[in-house]
Symmetry: C2
Subunit: 355 residues, 2 copies
Amino acid sequence: MYDYQVLFNFTQTVFEKMGLSVEEARQAANILMRAELRNISTHGLVRLPEYVRLWENKRITVTPKFTVVHETPSTALVDGGKGLGLVTAPKAMKLAIEKAKTAGTGWVAVRNSYHFGIAGYYAMKALENNMIGIAMTNANPLVAPTFSKNGMLGTNPIAVAVPAGEEPPFVADFATSPVSRGKVDVFEGEGKDAPDGLLQDAKGNPTTDSSILRNGGALRTLGGDVAHGGHKGFCLTAIVDIFSAVFSGANFGPTVVPTLGYVENKTGAEDRGIGHFFGAMRIDAFQTAEAFKAGMDGWIRTFRKAVPVAGQERIIIPGDPERVAEKVNLEKGISLGDKTLNGLKQLAEKFGIPF
Amino acid sequence: MYDYQVLFNFTQTVFEKMGLSVEEARQAANILMRAELRNISTHGLVRLPEYVRLWENKRITVTPKFTVVHETPSTALVDGGKGLGLVTAPKAMKLAIEKAKTAGTGWVAVRNSYHFGIAGYYAMKALENNMIGIAMTNANPLVAPTFSKNGMLGTNPIAVAVPAGEEPPFVADFATSPVSRGKVDVFEGEGKDAPDGLLQDAKGNPTTDSSILRNGGALRTLGGDVAHGGHKGFCLTAIVDIFSAVFSGANFGPTVVPTLGYVENKTGAEDRGIGHFFGAMRIDAFQTAEAFKAGMDGWIRTFRKAVPVAGQERIIIPGDPERVAEKVNLEKGISLGDKTLNGLKQLAEKFGIPF
């Protein structure tokens, strides 16, 4: 188990060594550490070597210019200037929150950005302002649309955070694919097959081979085949791609320049980064804040006291397990997988930082 | 095959006999007929007897008061005054569009409303105004959250319509459950089992029995079990419930007073109707309209020319099949199922209208 503060400081130092300002390095470290605390380790420190590689390959700049290109009272387009999402996205979410203060809601699309960590971090920023938060992003083309032979869409996560009154907030934060790429990596690392229906091979045939993403295969959409609603999963992932990348003018779908060595760069499109989309809505935009909070408390309590099926203790309110994990991990420390540990050790050596 | 105009006139007359104004009866008929044209017959004329029953049971009023209860520059809460969604929702969507004209985006939550037909109708209204349209609603509690024994959420549809330049628009319109209740009814009517993984029985055990919704069973969420991402489907359906009903103060989740005889009214909650949520975003809210249209044309063309798996002709762009169907059905006439036909004949008799 590793102490939270030790890992935080190490991560901040790596970002500083890359050339981020102290404040932005702390911000970026905070986002990655929040993922570790919330047990979303696929979006935590395991990504740090990827960011360093993006920087070494000159895909990102560490002192990006943040430009508001176009705006209306409730919207803005931001050009992230080829910075990491960890640097640009907090500013974009802040802008959405500022817009919402006067317009009731604020919506910000971002282009020329890169990986931003967990979507939930940004959605939860709204909670501190008595707002509902929304965050989404597109990503490496790994998901095959219904009937497509090839991966053309990202695992495109979406996060929605809704404050309540006495209850803790509702925080949904999920890849719109049935599983994340990280989960498939875990099956592969353990030498296990993936469950049926999640993957297809290079010809588009169903497979359980958990190494298939490195061999021309793709993830399927949420739902799987058409009989099980997989075309709805395609719609959902496509909507996230359009909101994140077409609204902003970032690279969309298969034109995303991959950050993964094993994903083919099919289009040779100009690199305008990936796109994000952020939203903030005042809780008193529709009713009084009091009525809203009481309503959300009612919703959460109704579902929390629902009758579970045999063998399950309860219905899980989105955000509950992660909130519990934050508390436990902060107290007892964070466990890191071998891949993450090796990555951090290599970074320690590269930058001459003690680990 | 039935002529479009004949069915339209009949439907309008039924609504007029119920007491709707000529203009609102035409509007309501238009929404139902749009579903028939688009081959979404589960939301077409088969629903007309349900609306008459709601009216006879005094669940709805036919001359509802439309009240804007609360607003900000980009948002509003509407009380539908216990009117049909077919009457209230077009006005609410219009309000969202008006808000977007000045604020860049417009967002309207509605309570005290009832069934509004196809969500896509409202989302597509935005297209005529060079806007992106969003529509969602909650519904009868038929979907069991992950680990829940009982149906607690509706099939809660979501529609997103995005205009392009030279290409026809992207129109996604889907129940967030893997299949709609109507689809299960079709399996039952044909005496067939439903595919694996879509349904659970009264104890929460998986079943393929297509009559199970009438016997205490429930639909599962998109994705099915946790290994296949069913908890993400729960999040999605929950988000639609919260946006539609908690934002507005309508009945949420299991507190929705069912319009289906076989769904138990579990809570005895006050009937504040179901809730809807509408959004409109100007296409020039983030970039110039020209850049947006070019970007969306690029997105649509990229996916339309994707390589299909063996046995499939193409990847389907959401909205394409429905647009083709509209043209064909308008020319060649509309086919009606037995249940729909019987319902219409009974209404003809009840109201003394020739059919």
